[in-house]
């Protein structure tokens, strides 16, 4: 028994020692930022020794989970209104909110040469389905509807719109070929400065309200040094380079 007890004590000591240096941070990440945060997480863990645990999803869903006690410490939202709302409701660490990326919208098809560089394919009307993210819940979906309105196509595309619950699903409908066209986040189809598959029109930013994506430290992460470290890291030049390489503005 003595031996077992001392072994247990050693184990406990090991775990607590370990966590004194390397903390774990639980992050709720907007679906459009999935690929960049995975690249950033690898660097972040190597450079700081902290561990990043990410959950991906829709911003509205994260809001509901955070309000109901989800264990997230940092929230990387797809918009700026949800973090503002959480801030005004007292769920965040004061002064921690900042814009970590400005999203770019793209009209995309999985087919090569289908989308032209100016998006004229939208007006040609030669498609069955146009996929967008749910505009009520996803900022990229809202931006897509603003672009359609600006082009005067709202009525024309009405019967062709299919909605994904978040930007990942909007992408999935296009990538599986079920929708010929879709408005997705450039970050989903962009790698190392170019569109990696299919064809796309990168929508000029002035055609919709800016997709400002804000990050915030939540109350659960108040005393976690890893949460603070992650936010600082996101503001640093190394993360900025990665974020830009996925087609975001800063």
């Amino acid at each position: 028994m003595m031996i077992r007890a001392s072994r247990l004590a050693t184990l406990i000591a090991l775990f607590t020692l370990g966590s004194a240096h390397a903390d774990e941070v639980q992050v709720a990440v907007a679906a459009n930022f999935t690929a960049p945060i995975q690249a950033i997480a690898a660097d972040f863990e190597k450079d700081t020794g902290h561990k990043l645990v990410a959950a991906y999803g829709a911003t509205g869903q994260f809001y509901a989970q955070i309000k109901n006690g989800a264990p997230f410490e940092v929230f990387l939202s797809a918009d700026d209104t949800t973090p503002q709302k959480l801030e005004s409701e007292g769920d965040t660490v004061k002064g921690s909110r900042f814009t970590y990326a400005v999203g770019t919208l793209a009209l995309w098809s999985a087919k090569e040469g289908y989308v032209d560089a100016k998006g004229a394919v939208l007006k040609e009307n030669d498609y069955q389905h146009l996929s967008i993210a749910n505009p009520k819940a996803a900022p990229y979906g809202l931006a897509a509807t603003q672009v359609l309105a600006k082009l005067g196509l709202t009525e024309q595309v009405k019967s062709k719109l299919v909605e994904g619950q978040n930007i990942t699903q909007a992408y999935q409908f296009v990538s599986t070929g079920n929708a010929e066209l879709g408005f997705v986040a450039l970050s989903q189809i962009y790698k190392d400065g170019k569109v990696s598959s299919g064809s796309a029109w990168i929508v000029p930013g002035q055609m919709h309200d800016p997709i400002k994506q804000d990050a915030v430290i939540l109350n659960k992460g108040k005393d976690n040094p890893a949460a603070k470290a992650l936010v600082d890291y996101l503001k640093g030049p190394k993360a900025a380079a990665v974020i830009k390489s996925y087609g975001y503005q800063l």
Binding site: G60, Y63, A64, K136, Q165, T176, G177
Partner: protein, 226 residues
Amino acid sequence: MPLSSADFSAIWLTLKLASLTTVILLVIGTPIALWLSHTRSWWRGPIGAIVALPLVLPPTVIGFYLLLTMGPHGYLGQFTQWLGLGTLTFSFAGLVIGSVIYSMPFVVQPLQNAFSAIGSRPLEVAATLRANPWDTFFTVILPLARPGFITASILGFAHTVGEFGVVLMIGGNIPDKTRVVSVQIYDHVEAMEYAQAHWLAAAMVVFSFLVLLALYSSRKTKAGWS
């Protein structure tokens, strides 16, 4: 009125989907259940297992494969395109197919149990009285298996009303075509419209309870304790 017209059209669509699915399942489920309850074939095991698969598979698995199969590159998608029908994703017809697969065990299994309970004796008697198979089905099997048909219809209908994952993956959230109640509730929650979400969600709870109450109350209690 706490429910909007969009909520009502989602309710109407859900009822339409569940009714149509139940009717189709009764038509194709009855011969499958009859066969499963009487065959001695080696295929009984594999077919029974396939019918029961939706009981254990996550709806995301069914939805994912349907999305690929019904899509323009999938077998079903290429077939429907060849027929000139286009693809079935994002359509009411696509949801009906998905629901038929998803709710299949909830209809076939109660029917199979009911048919097994009849046994072979009444069928043999019918045969000696020179009843042809159709006569036997309509005058012997159908009346005797009535409770099984009622259970199958209620469960098939209710399970389709409760469907979410499959619809989410192949539906595309189109009003009046694929936006059913469960998706509408999810939408309300995502958009932080909790009051509307509550009304619809509470309606679902009440509906489900009433359905199950009807189901369990209709069952005759065998020699009970009280």
